[in-house]
């Protein structure tokens, strides 16, 4: 469990990146920080591994104030995955993954063996192990980044827009992979993104931030979608992909899902007969919502 207690970060130039931020990040769940550029997401994330120290307030991990811990040691116990993978260009894939375990004293041979196994875990072919990062595609590099983040078997995995630089198809693939991994491993994941769809897909708990590191709303995707607390949240939630309140229209031989503007959103595959009778407001649901699932997406 990670707890933020009234954390404020003011950079030397006077920028207040995070302002009086308090939050409990539950263990074994994925918490997503989402917000526009400059809303303090990265700053919040980097305070967890002391890459940034708060100006005031404190952060506890499992009850221990991390301000009292040695930063280097703390960082070696926390997985960190960043955009553009941040791999060491002069080390082979397998050595990149083995880096932190070796820093922690694991013998080279064992660390490399374990690194190969981790490549399997993240869905990478072992034949890529002897390549250098520059010889991989962006998506493959990102997977190596995740493998490196998992290498010390950390309880906490910090991910800063890890899928921000890959194309939508690869991104969707990586997102599914992360969901699978998370089902298997159950890490405490803190994930940063500015993509609300990604936040709702991956997050058990979603934190919507406004500029200046102020919390706009915290909740599960379903809670936020159903009850956006204010205009800012409803705009943010709705802005990324048209309007989200969908309703069903019957077109004789099938039920079509249509959004507020009348734009076709997909086909309703009824898993229960009641789905067809759902009214517009009741069919609001996050991507993980129960009942109806929308297929096909944008078919206009």
């Amino acid at each position: 469990m990670i707890e933020f207690h009234s954390v404020t970060k003011r950079f030397p130039d006077g920028t207040i990146a995070v302002d009086d931020f308090s939050l409990v990040v539950p263990s074994h769940k994925t918490t997503v920080f989402v917000g526009t550029s400059g809303s303090g997401k990265t700053t919040l994330l980097r305070m967890i591994n002391r890459m940034v120290d708060p100006t005031s307030g404190s952060i506890d991990i499992d009850g221990a104030d991390i301000g009292t811990l040695e930063p280097v040691k703390l960082r070696r116990s926390i997985g960190y995955v960043m955009q553009n993978s941040g791999l060491l260009p002069h080390r082979k894939v397998v050595d990149n993954v083995a880096t932190v375990p070796m820093l922690r004293g694991m013998p080279r041979k064992k660390a490399r063996e374990q690194a190969l196994a981790l490549l399997d875990t993240v869905g990478l072919d072992r034949s890529l192990a002897e390549r250098y990062p520059s010889q991989l595609s962006g998506g493959q590099q990102q997977r190596v980044g995740v493998a490196r983040g998992l290498a010390v078997n950390p309880n906490i995995l910090l991910m800063d827009e890890p899928f921000g630089a890959v194309d939508p198809i690869v991104r969707a693939e990586l997102q599914q992979e992360l969901l699978r991994l998370q089902r298997e491993l159950g890490k405490t994941v803190v994930f940063v993104t500015h993509d609300i769809d990604e936040a709702f897909l991956l997050g058990d708990q979603v934190v919507i931030l406004r500029t200046g590191g102020k919390v706009a709303q915290v909740g599960s995707p379903a809670q936020i979608l159903a009850n956006p607390i204010d205009d800012f949240v409803s705009t943010f939630v709705g802005a990324e992909r048209g309007k989200r309140s969908l309703h069903v229209e019957n077109h004789g031989n099938g039920n079509i899902v249509v959004d507020e503007t009348g734009r076709l959103a997909g086909v309703l595959v009824a898993s229960q007969s009641t789905a067809a009778t759902a009214s517009g407001s009741e069919s609001r649901a996050g991507p993980r919502g129960p009942g109806a699932s929308v297929q096909g997406g944008d078919s206009r």
Binding site: M82, L87, H90, V100, Y132, P133
Partner: protein
């Protein structure tokens, strides 16, 4: 023309290849002098350069001091130090170390500065200590530019080490000063040629080293991404436009 034959005669005279004043001895002195100067300069400049490059602080000061060092006329400094510590090799050592420091210092810190900040940040974020970042990330990635700095320092020292003979019976420069004094232009030119040859050989070695120390991952990937530039552009020029580029690939 006579200079040239005189020079050749001087260079080929077996008598000049033996003894205390012989070419091998003076060449060895010159080389050793260059080596010692470089090592001393590197021991001073490399740690400071790494510190500047790693912390990003003190760069302005380093540039200013380097600039001042460079502006000092070496012969003047040599004379000054010689007046102070006396005739002998100490004065040239001091003067040339001062000469060699700026390029090595610049090579050390620019090598670090040229590294993508994201790589350093990631290394720190996964738990490398500052020392580990320097030794395992910045040093290997910055090495080519450091070698570049050593390369230009070496060239300057090899050339300027001829001045050591101005106040000591030492090195290849002796032939220049001696030749000048006794108006033996063959000896003078022969000595110069030897210095130039030495410089060229060292230059070649450093160029090679500079290529070899580029970490493999940094060069890897590019040749496989882009098929050999020259072999591709040439056929294109020879082809008529209608045949298009698809033909080139089949060749």
């Amino acid at each position: 023309m006579t200079f040239l034959t005189e020079t050749l005669a001087w260079l080929l005279d077996p008598a000049h290849w033996v003894g205390a004043g012989g070419i091998p001895t003076r060449l060895a002195q010159h080389l050793l002098f260059t080596l010692v100067t470089l090592v001393v300069a590197a021991v001073i400049a490399v740690p400071i350069g790494f510190l500047i490059g790693h912390t990003g602080r003190g760069r302005g000061l380093a540039v200013a001091i380097s600039g001042a060092f460079r502006a000092i006329p070496t012969l003047g400094l040599l004379t000054l130090v010689a007046l102070w510590v006396g005739i002998g090799l100490n004065a040239p050592y001091v003067a040339l170390t001062v000469l060699a420091i700026p390029p090595i210092l610049a090579g050390a810190y620019t090598g670090f500065e040229a590294i993508d900040r994201k790589i350093i940040d990631a290394a720190r974020a996964v738990g490398m200590s500052e020392m580990q970042i320097v030794l395992k990330v910045e040093l290997p990635l910055g090495l080519p530019l450091l070698i570049g700095g050593l390369r230009s320092a070496t060239l300057q020292v090899v050339a300027t080490a001829t001045l050591a003979a101005y106040i000591a019976d030492f090195g290849l420069g002796r032939y220049l000063f001696e030749g000048l004094r006794i108006r033996d232009y063959g000896e003078m030119l022969g000595g110069s040629i030897l210095v130039i040859l030495l410089a060229i050989v060292l230059e070649g070695l450093f160029a090679l080293a500079q290529k070899l120390v580029v970490p493999r991952g940094v060069t890897a990937g590019r040749p496989t991404d882009i098929p050999g530039g020259s072999s591709r552009s040439r056929p294109v020029m020879e082809l008529t436009i209608e045949e298009g580029n698809s033909h080139v690939r089949n060749e």
